[in-house]
Symmetry: C2
Subunit: 241 residues, 2 copies
């Protein structure tokens, strides 16, 4: 039987490699799950696939696991990015959690004119993404970038990448209609509470690689727009079919 | 210019009707927005459309608004229900908020074998739905039912209604494939943390009006499955196209 406990680690994973687990992981395995030396767990790091490993030492603050065998090779990741304007409170954390579950490769906070939250605790958000990845069975953990201005981000667009801009203030097409040509990479762009300004919208719409899409007849909150947009993109273009 | 403040009320809305606002609404209008007698607001009750109204009295604990004219008639609602197993903490509140934004007509908490949360504060959830409706511009507020057992709910299926069962544990089809015949009513069914039991899954799959669907290759948390499933249903079958 496959061990059920999956842990995300930073270290390289190779056959017989010994991995030091951190204090939180050690506490969880030894005191919450009450595992002992010899117990099997799963390890992944977002690069080297999923490994079956065995606990070989359990100390007060650290434990050692040794990699036994590769169970799943690292899968290719769908080239899906989320560009979102950070919002207040726990909602940014939830966006990171849901983006991880929904298979986003890279999370890029962008600062627009009406963005109020301009600093993020990236360490906390990265921990949240790792935790979501542990739970949802994926081997991929999204990269989380420092916030930069929206149009600086747009200037760094990758070749072949298309931005789907969730525009609630004007004419836009359903997501399915914006994806008939299957671009090689996609970013979903969602705005802050209050949306984008008219001048931002004009500039976005004039960009050759930006496509305005709508997400139905109601005004969605910023977090809802990211969840709905990512689900539609994955089902139409990504790895859900 | 259309007034920007929308309030949900319980009372019937008719031309020249006078509506008493509650203490929370009165405080918000008088002390947060600092509106005075004569200020215009919008009222809706989920049945009688959206009305432009004028504040005619502001007291300490209550205010009176008089309906001036109907701005939008009550739209027909998409016959979409959410059947979900309640989960812990704030996540059930978020499910209600997002279901409202995503245009669900009726929210039916269902109790399955692994459902831990069996009692809900319906008053709080109804207030959350009303608040979400105020913000997202919809005139429809979902009904929220008392939790009942999953199979009791299934016994009360409406004529023509189909249940899409988000099944993460076995063979299932993408949502698009389950909706090729355009049923007249739909319910999305999502499970508790830990999913449905094997015997529940067997019973669900044997039901002639239940269709098992999948939401991608990763295991989604219960709340994420509701957000993603509802977005897909609205875009494929509901009022998003």
């Amino acid at each position: 039987m496959k061990p059920s406990q999956r842990l995300y680690v930073q270290a390289e994973l190779t056959a017989e490699g010994e991995i030091a687990l951190d204090a939180g992981q050690t506490h969880y395995l030894a005191h919450v799950l009450r595992l002992g030396v010899g117990a099997e767990i799963l390890l992944f790091n977002g690069r080297d696939g999923e490994w079956q490993a065995r606990l070989t030492q359990i100390g007060k603050k650290t434990a050692i696991a040794q990699c036994d065998r590769l169970l799943r090779p690292q899968p290719a990741m769908v080239k899906l990015e989320l560009w979102f304007a950070p919002i207040k409170g726990d909602r940014t954390d939830m966006i990171v959690e849901k983006a991880t579950e929904l298979g986003v490769a890279r999370i890029c906070p962008v600062v627009s004119d009406r963005t109020i939250v301009r600093k993020l605790n990236l360490e906390r958000l990265r921990a949240r993404a790792a935790e979501a990845a542990e739970q949802c069975g994926t081997l991929n953990v999204p990269e989380i970038h420092e916030p930069i201005s929206l149009f600086d981000r747009l200037d760094r667009l990758a070749a072949g990448q298309v931005v789907l801009f969730a525009d609630e203030a004007g004419e836009a097409v359903p997501v399915a209609q914006a994806l008939t040509d299957r671009p090689s990479g996609l970013a979903l762009l969602t705005g802050p509470e209050g949306g984008f300004t008219p001048s931002e919208r004009t500039r976005l719409r004039a960009h050759p690689h930006v496509r305005a899409v709508h997400l139905g007849p109601r005004i969605l909150r910023a977090d809802t727009a990211t969840f709905a947009g990512l689900a539609l993109i994955q089902s139409l273009w990504g790895d859900w079919s």
